[in-house]
Symmetry: C2
Subunit: 539 residues, 2 copies
């Protein structure tokens, strides 16, 4: 009893020391969230359905279409309001029906391989010798001209085996989190950005070159060892897809092919890739649902994850986990019949894996546009170029989004949140996390994190944040791989994440003021005008 | 200069402190071994040929036959003497031509799977629903009787995902090696041994039951996470092979099937397994080669590794690496034209993966037999039962084998040697390792190690030893898996191992006396007659 009394006293002290003062949500309400999110949790049952029964959700694929329907249906079942989808121009639908890659000479071996996303099928089985012809820039084409006809072109430079001395499964220590709490000055280098944009066109030129030379297919090396596959491809636009089939081969198998080709006759492969394009609807769709606020002038808060995934696994940790935590937070709050001051909006993004395109479309429609005239770039180029267009022009609704929370770092529990250099917001975020300290979520670190759906909001100074999560085996094994399956999700982590998110959203929705944000960004000065760029940018 | 002088002084002191005194091999000869094994090394070129061009070497498979021929050819090229093969009764030949496993319902997905060794093919593509029916003992059959007709029976109990917090790639620290230097008393429990023997027959009963019930195939779960495959099977004897096809499915894919089956209609699989049996020669063959000794009465020393491998990878670290180090040691010593006192014999074993059967056949033929009457057990049962047969009867040649060195712990460099409780041999082994301390091989630990080709020699008190090796990614990833490929071999390690082995062999061949050995073993007393056995033994 004494220990308990001390713990209660400590909690009270923490609240008293809070920088903002008044709690926007009573702790008895937080306790109800925890009860609903543990004893009545549905997050693992729903996760199993999304990952196992629907499976991979490449943007505009049949799996993604099913997921769009199913998630809206669930939101409606739970009593969410304004459930709808918002379309944006994306590109082609594509899915794998079956595939097989075999070495037939010098000896038979079934290889571990996967069709590269959005490449065409082989229309039956093709048989051809390989040629190892690594190309990473147009200037490499000359060396291979006239040598590729009738070949399967191995375009990756074969790597050596890795020596992985980090544990594959990891939970963050306090020290590791503390290191993230360090302000790094922003960088602006428009020349480098333009070069990256240019380099991004190389893939299109490469497949056109391969086709012109008469190559029958191309092959890449998987970037993780241990027979893992990924199969990402980025030529998804209508009119942009590769004219010849592409396959990604497991690193061990790819290296063996390259070694055999080096010492003697080129190995001969049999490739069968049966894939399906679906161009019936070019639009991708973000899924939106809401718990309406009681004050129509107070704006809204929002949480999101991306519903789309890659094709090799079932998109469990990337980002089925984030989507399921967002949906479970919605279910918990709806079940509790909360009546928040601000509307709480839930967003399941599409096209994240092809350049954060779903949330970018949302930003352009609801928050702010960039540049003058029409942005004619599409796909990955739109993503690459967007941050370098000026000025930023707020749209109606720019001021309405009081806070955005994103989850997209795997299935690990939430340990804290990145404050994205927002010095003014950090103490408020810390206050909102305080009730969840004993569940492992307590740290607010000042640093930024990228690569997912809060970044374009951040770029227009809308307060969007991403949580810190325990990595588990996200980096080592599951991220984008064929091992990204439901069994990688941990029930305790998934329930904790759902609860913390629900609590953060409700506190943000009821907070007296929206989270502080900076002014509308102006074109920055070049940060280091006398520095030489990365020589890789010249490739 | 001063540091070097100190180092030399230390070396001299070590030699002076040696328990045996006179060095059997001058250090200038060791230096020549090192020169030949580094500057003129052929171990990686030969390894590439064995792993990439010949590939997996399941005992009696076409790959193993090729390897038998190629290794003899290389030994002859290098000038080894008495190069020949020694046959022993084994069983059927088997190899994979092609294979494909797909889930077709509830959604299409190409699964990661491999035919289980020595199971028959599907004769085209079969399509059937799965049923999850874990069985590990005959008493489990009743629950499934009448339910398996027309099904693919998933006989493994689905596991949960692993949380691997050990580094996948490891080199041993001094502390780790020091822990191995601990004498553990031997254990003798004939009842447990008999139970294991009985349990081993279960697999045959299981496949017969599945066939009788009308199952069309069976499936097991791979025992490593991360999409790795293994495909071991032990029913290889003529008349013993499974009557229905068996496939091993990657853990992630197997669990998904089990979950889907649990929540709704059973998933339907399409299985195509195109495998080949070859019964033209039931015999497996050990490969033998020699450097003749100058003293016909001095007997011989021997080194060995096993040439056979499993089917999923190319048998690089298990045990291509050991075989290649043994062969490179032979090449180095032959090239140097050594004239040792004792004959140096090199042995490449067959049937190791099915119960250490090649070296067992060697022991029975050349060293000692066990039991009375004819041992009619075959295959794994012969292995399981052999240690429990009494008395041990020495054969002509029993005393001739002065020392045996085995390499079969992956591709990592040699760090020392297990003395196998042989207190008398330990200081001599330590002396022989001394010249290689600066190469990382120096520790002699008293403990025993099992599971490979020195064990049956040890069991009849012939001094056979296995080296301590850096694990690298043997345990985490390559052992028996489809990732056991040439790229896992490290040139520095392979050269070091070859050099150390050549040095050990030459010193053993020239030593004044054979290594000390104990008396011919008598049937031991039951070690702990009042202890209860492992309850698992009752299964």
């Amino acid at each position: 009893m004494r220990r308990l009394a001390l713990a209660l006293a400590a909690t009270t002290a923490l609240v008293a020391a809070s920088p903002v003062g008044a709690q926007s949500v009573d702790r008895t309400v937080i306790a109800r969230i925890i009860d609903e999110g543990t004893n009545q949790s549905e997050v693992m049952v729903n996760s199993q359905y999304l990952m196992d029964m629907i499976g991979p959700r490449l943007t505009n694929s049949p799996g993604m279409r099913k997921a769009e329907d199913w998630t809206q249906k669930k939101f409606r079942e739970w009593g969410l309001s304004n459930v709808h989808k918002e379309g944006f121009d994306f590109g082609r639908g594509w899915s794998i029906e079956r595939a097989s890659v075999r070495m037939v000479s010098p000896r038979p071996i079934q290889l571990t391989a996967i069709p590269i996303a959005w490449t065409p099928g082989t229309n039956g089985t093709i048989s051809a010798p390989v040629i190892v012809a690594p190309m990473t820039a147009e200037r490499h084409f000359d060396a291979w001209r006239g040598k590729l006809a009738g070949k399967i072109v191995m375009i990756s430079r074969p790597t050596n085996g890795s020596e992985e001395t980090d544990a594959p499964f990891e939970r963050l220590s306090g020290d590791q989190i503390a290191k993230l709490d360090s302000f790094r000055q922003p960088r602006y280098d428009p020349v480098a950005a333009d070069r990256r944009l240019k380099r991004n066109d190389f893939q299109k030129k490469l497949v056109a070159f391969l086709k012109a030379e008469g190559a029958v297919a191309f092959a890449t090396e998987s970037y993780r060892d241990g027979m893992l596959l990924h199969g990402e491809g980025y030529l998804f636009g209508v009119g942009d897809t590769s004219p010849i089939p592409g396959i990604q081969i497991a690193a061990e198998d790819y290296r063996r092919l390259a070694r055999i080709a080096k010492v003697g006759a080129a190995p001969v492969l049999e490739v069968m890739s049966d894939v399906r394009f679906d161009d019936s609807d070019r639009n991708a769709y973000n899924i939106i649902a809401e718990i309406p606020g009681t004050d129509p002038k107070a704006g809204y808060v929002m949480a999101g994850g991306h519903l789309d995934s890659w094709v090799a696994g079932d998109g469990a940790t990337d980002d089925g986990a984030g989507v399921m935590m967002v949906m479970e937070a919605a279910r918990i709050l709806a079940k509790m019949n909360v009546r928040p001051k601000r509307t709480i909006r839930f967003a399941l993004w599409a096209g994240e894996e092809q350049g954060i395109l779903g949330s970018l479309a949302y930003v352009e429609k609801h928050l702010a546009t960039r540049g003058t005239g029409t942005n004619t770039q599409t796909g990955l180029n739109r993503y690459m170029g967007w941050s370098n267009r000026w000025p930023v022009t707020p749209q109606p609704g720019y001021g309405d989004l009081a806070a955005y929370f994103n989850i997209d770092n795997g299935g690990g529990k939430l340990r804290g949140i990145y404050a994205e250099n927002n010095i003014a917001a950090a103490p408020i975020l810390r206050e909102w996390l305080a009730p969840f300290a004993s569940m492992g979520a307590k740290d607010v670190v000042i640093s930024k994190t990228g690569g997912t759906d809060h970044v374009f909001m951040q770029q227009v100074a809308v307060p969007g944040f991403q949580f810190i999560q325990d990595p588990l085996d996200y980096e080592s094994r599951t991220h984008h791989s064929n091992a990204d399956t439901f069994d990688k999700l941990k029930g305790d982590d998934m329930r904790q994440g759902s609860i913390v998110l629900a609590g953060m959203l409700l506190q943000a929705a009821n907070a007296e003021k929206p989270l502080p944000r900076g002014p509308v960004p102006q074109q920055p000065k070049v940060t280091d005008p006398f520095a030489y760029g990365d020589p890789d940018d010249d490739r």
